[in-house]
């Protein structure tokens, strides 16, 4: 989609009225009427409280909502915030909205917001998820301030997580991204983050937007761009993140958006990541991580069943993706009873790396490769829950750190299979 069609005449007219700004707050939406009100109120309060002097605009990129979400965004009155919190706005605060498509495309939503930020010459661009109902006004400051005042190019969030929440992040996305790109970014695929105008402009110019990767995994691509370019990256602790209800089908979609995008990023960045050894911490504002220990019900039996079924049914596919030794190990694990179940960290890391290499070579359809990883991930998630059943927050951190260590230790193996696999 060319930029001139991305920015409709009506949207351009709105941008013209907004004029140059200091900060853009982007809000990609699609049928979020149920959750959007507190999010908007928190954003407005955050602007008034933390950036009263700055020129700020809220830009809603909507993917064809049928529930009046854009109207709720543009109609939210700043007076309500003023009455509730007695914070006073020096300036006019614009909230504008555009419908970029009839159906949601996260990449296009991000592109629309970044294109607007670029046009408005924003110094900082903050993205906020429309279903983050636990958002506090301070989030805005924590995300935007390092970019706006301290010349960081990207601020990635850290959330307070429930102990078994974010398992995909803890078991795959974080360890793999860290091992590949050498930056210890806890949430490489975040729905809240801030970037500099410079990074926004550079990222917009990338040739990714017409790829599937650009359409569905633009956020992780943005993180990778920040890590692989000469950009300053940091993290900011935000607090508790509401976890939207997810169905089993959502996991597949999430893995397509995240794991698929991460695997794709390896293709073009090989010269960069192949030379990186180990990993470095990134500057972090606030806590490094926080874990809540309330008991959460995990369907361990179900996870084991899905893993075992997947290993059995997908064996022909695994033969084109995985090495014989890995398949053999998976088959052994599949025989384990749920209480003895253990998908060891080193086997998991090797599994993921072999998938990544197969994805690179496109041994079969790339989408099928990602789909095939889903049951194996469930097995790893089961192991994570078993290992940490009685664990404290520190135990969980140690467990994640240990897994990351395995991914880093086995990175040479990735380089090996990357080159060898036919």
């Amino acid at each position: 989609m060319a930029e001139e069609t991305l920015l409709t005449d009506d949207f351009l007219r709105q941008l013209m009225n907004v004029g140059e700004v200091d900060i853009v707050v982007g809000l990609p939406t699609h049928n979020n009427a149920k959750t959007i009100d507190p999010v908007i109120r928190a954003i407005q309060a955050g602007i008034l409280k933390c950036f009263p002097r700055e020129r700020v605009v809220i830009i809603n990129a909507d993917g064809g909502s049928q529930d009046g979400t854009p109207e709720r965004v543009t109609g939210a009155s700043i007076d309500d915030v003023w009455n509730a919190s007695k914070v006073y706005a020096l300036r006019t605060l614009h909230s504008i909205s555009t419908q970029y498509a009839r159906s949601p495309e996260p990449g296009t939503a991000l592109r629309t917001i970044l294109a607007a930020a670029d046009l408005l010459r924003a110094k900082a661009c903050v993205l906020v998820s429309p279903d983050s109902t636990t958002i506090e006004p301070d989030w805005l400051q924590r995300l935007a301030r390092p970019v706006y005042n301290d010349n960081f190019d990207m601020v990635s969030p850290i959330y307070r997580r429930q102990k078994f929440e974010g398992a995909l992040m803890r078991n795959l996305l974080y360890p793999m991204t860290r091992a590949i790109y050498g930056h210890r970014i806890r949430e490489p695929y975040a729905s809240e983050f801030a970037i500099s105008g410079r990074l926004a402009t550079d990222f917009l110019a990338k040739e990714i937007w017409n790829d599937d990767w650009g359409k569905i995994g633009a956020e992780i691509c943005l993180t990778v761009t920040a890590m692989t370019g000469k950009y300053r990256v940091c993290q900011a602790f935000l607090g508790m993140k509401a976890q939207p209800d997810r169905s089993a089908r959502d996991l597949l979609a999430a893995m397509r958006h995240t794991v698929g995008a991460l695997f794709s990023s390896l293709d073009g960045n090989f010269p960069v990541w192949s030379t990186i050894e180990g990993s470095q911490p990134v500057p972090t504002i606030g806590a490094q991580s926080e874990v809540m220990l309330e008991p959460v019900r995990v369907n361990r039996k179900g996870l084991r069943e899905m893993f075992a079924t997947g290993v059995a049914e997908l064996e022909p596919i695994f033969r084109s993706i995985l090495s014989a030794s890995t398949i053999s190990e998976l088959q052994r694990i599949a025989t384990l009873d749920v209480n003895d179940f253990n998908y060891p960290a080193d086997v998991w890391a090797k599994t993921v790396f072999e998938f990544a290499a197969s994805y690179h070579k496109s041994v079969i359809s790339r989408d099928h490769i990602v789909q095939a990883l889903v049951p194996l991930y469930r097995g790893r998630a089961l192991t994570f829950s078993l290992e940490n059943r009685e664990g404290s927050g520190e135990d969980i951190e140690r467990s994640v750190e240990s897994l990351c260590g395995e991914f880093e230790r086995l990175k040479p193996y990735l380089l090996e299979v990357w080159a060898d696999r036919k």
Binding site: R13, Q14, M16, N17, G19, E20, P52, R53, Y88, A89, L90, R91, T92, H94
Partner: protein
């Protein structure tokens, strides 16, 4: 010869604020005087203004630039004689220029004979003309105005061994308006000047006339009673006289000073002024429209008085803390520029001597609803001297020419009441009346043109205002209307060019005539009316149906 005192003359007035001391020295003693002022009336007339507001010129120890009066019925010898004043007044009236004098009614100098008598003993007949107390604990809820210099509103008098009340400097004891004798005497003072022919009074510090325990001692109902009493006497005996209130208050608190058209005719709109500066720097109309929307309706016979700068600091009392911090950071980054809760700077330096911004601010001053006041020297872009202390930095000699003392005085420069501005940017050799009169495009020439257009129609002084709400917040647009005349005013507050679409469907079929160049703009149709505007540009359009 006195001008006829027409009711409502002040609504169409443009007022020029002058301190006699600062304007023109006729006798070479280094201090401006009434004869000197009279010599410059042609200049004032050419400028186009039709009223002069004189700052206090009464005998005074001059510890607060004349706001510490020691005799209400005479002229300070520095400025001439009562006869000089009468001559000046007559000459001004001959030119159609009305004269407003300052009445500092709230307090006197501690050298005023009334106070000297009052403090002489506790049983002196004038003891009750001031507010005395055995303790300094009364009226505890009252704020201190001059926070940089005063620790308390009470001062100890070692002579009568008690405390006296003062809202301003401790050498300015407050008169006791609960005492009918004080009210009567103040009316006698007013009568004296009205009989000489003055056209109005600017009453200084009116919210503080009366004190009551358990209150803020500001805006009390009893204060309004005093004002109504004076107003009635004025209306009965000198109809057409204008009373102007100096009450630095929020609009809602100011509104009562108009009463039902039976208190003041005019009052300064203090909260608007800092917000005009704020709006300009924020490039956002919000501060301006917000305060004007909060401004209550006033009786038809009354009027707001608008100003950009005056003899005091740019007061930031009537802004929120966040706004004050912003104003300090933007307009007074050097702390020397700050005084009390304000900024002691003139218009041109505040606006970085940017001609476009100076024009825009004056354009708004002349087109928003109210009677505008121009502070002497701002019409030529005079600078200030923030190192002179107190507010003296904005009270330097008027710059008439590039010659000796800027043409203000033939005295030795060392003898001047204040050093003139000398720096290369704002000094009298760079900024002066003579050179600007010779240039068609000088600020002075432009100001004359602006004033001429403002005076060409009563719409500006008496018309209604309705704000337009274009989506571009950098544009401040409003309709001024009176009878069949309609003006459209559009101001670009931004330092960059802007496009704006105005909803003028109500005026469909009208053509727009730009009032400065008299050029015709396209007819208003059904579509939003598109204007493109240069940085800080403003348009005044007359709407005309052809």
């Amino acid at each position: 010869m006195p001008l006829k005192r027409e009711a409502g003359w002040y609504k169409d007035a443009i007022i020029y604020q002058v301190h006699v001391r600062t304007f023109n020295d006729s006798d070479g003693d280094g201090i401006g005087d009434f004869q000197g002022l009279a010599q410059k009336l042609d200049y004032v007339q050419e400028l186009g203004v039709n009223a002069i507001w004189l700052m206090p010129f009464f005998p005074s120890p001059l510890r607060d630039d004349g706001y510490d009066i020691s005799d209400y019925g005479s002229i300070h010898p520095n400025y001439g004689t009562l006869q000089d004043f009468k001559t000046f007044l007559s000459n001004a009236h001959d030119r159609g220029i009305r004269v407003i004098v300052e009445l500092v009614a709230n307090h006197t100098s501690d050298q005023h004979p009334w106070f000297l008598e009052s403090r002489s003993s506790q049983d002196n007949p004038k003891r009750n003309w001031y507010v005395w107390s055995d303790t300094d604990t009364g009226y505890r809820g009252t704020r201190i105005i001059f926070i940089d210099t005063e620790m308390s509103n009470w001062a100890w008098d070692p002579i009568s061994k008690s405390y006296y009340w003062h809202r301003f400097f401790s050498h300015q004891p407050d008169l006791n308006y609960d005492n009918p004798a004080v009210r009567e005497e103040m009316w006698n003072v007013m009568k004296f000047w009205l009989e000489l022919g003055v056209d109005g009074f600017r009453l200084d510090a009116v919210p503080y006339l009366i004190e009551r325990d358990g209150t803020s001692c500001e805006n009390l109902p009893e204060t309004h009673e005093v004002i109504r009493e004076l107003r009635k006497k004025v209306d009965d005996q000198f109809p057409g006289t204008m009373l102007l209130a100096e009450a630095n208050q929020w609009p809602a608190d100011l509104r009562p000073y108009f009463g039902n058209g039976d208190e003041f005719h005019m009052a300064f709109h203090f909260p608007l002024m800092p917000r005009m500066f704020m709006g300009l720097r924020l490039e956002d109309r919000k501060p301006i429209t917000e305060i004007l929307q909060q401004t209550p309706e006033i009786p038809a016979s009354c009027q707001w008085c608008l100003f950009l700068r005056n003899h005091d600091e740019l007061t930031l009392e009537m802004v929120t803390d966040i706004e004050r911090d912003y104003m300090y950071d933007i307009y007074a980054s050097d702390k020397t520029m700050r005084l009390n809760l304000g900024i002691r700077r003139r218009l041109a330096p505040l606006l970085d001597n940017d001609r476009r911004r100076i024009e825009l601010m004056n354009g708004m001053l002349m087109s928003l609803p109210g009677t505008p006041i121009i502070y002497y020297g701002d019409e030529i872009g005079m600078g200030d001297n923030i190192y002179l202390g107190d507010r003296n930095g904005v009270r330097t000699p008027m710059q008439w020419s590039g010659g000796w003392n800027g043409g203000f005085s033939i005295a030795d420069p060392e003898r001047l009441y204040s050093p003139p501005i000398l720096n290369p940017v704002y000094g009298y050799q760079a900024v002066n009346v003579l050179s600007q009169k010779r240039t068609e495009h000088s600020l002075l020439s432009w100001m004359k043109h602006l004033i001429q257009i403002r005076r060409s129609s009563p719409v500006f002084g008496s018309g209604s205002i309705e704000f337009l709400h274009p989506a571009n917040h950098r544009i401040l647009a409003y309709i001024r209307q009176l009878g069949k005349e309609t003006f459209l005013i559009v101001n670009n507050l931004s330092s960059a060019a802007q496009a704006v679409e105005l909803d003028l469907r109500r005026y469909k079929g009208n053509i727009l005539i730009e009032m400065f160049g008299k050029n015709i703009f396209p007819r208003v149709g059904d579509l939003p009316y598109l204007l493109t505007m240069g940085p800080y540009q403003f348009y005044w359009f007359r709407l005309r149906r052809v």
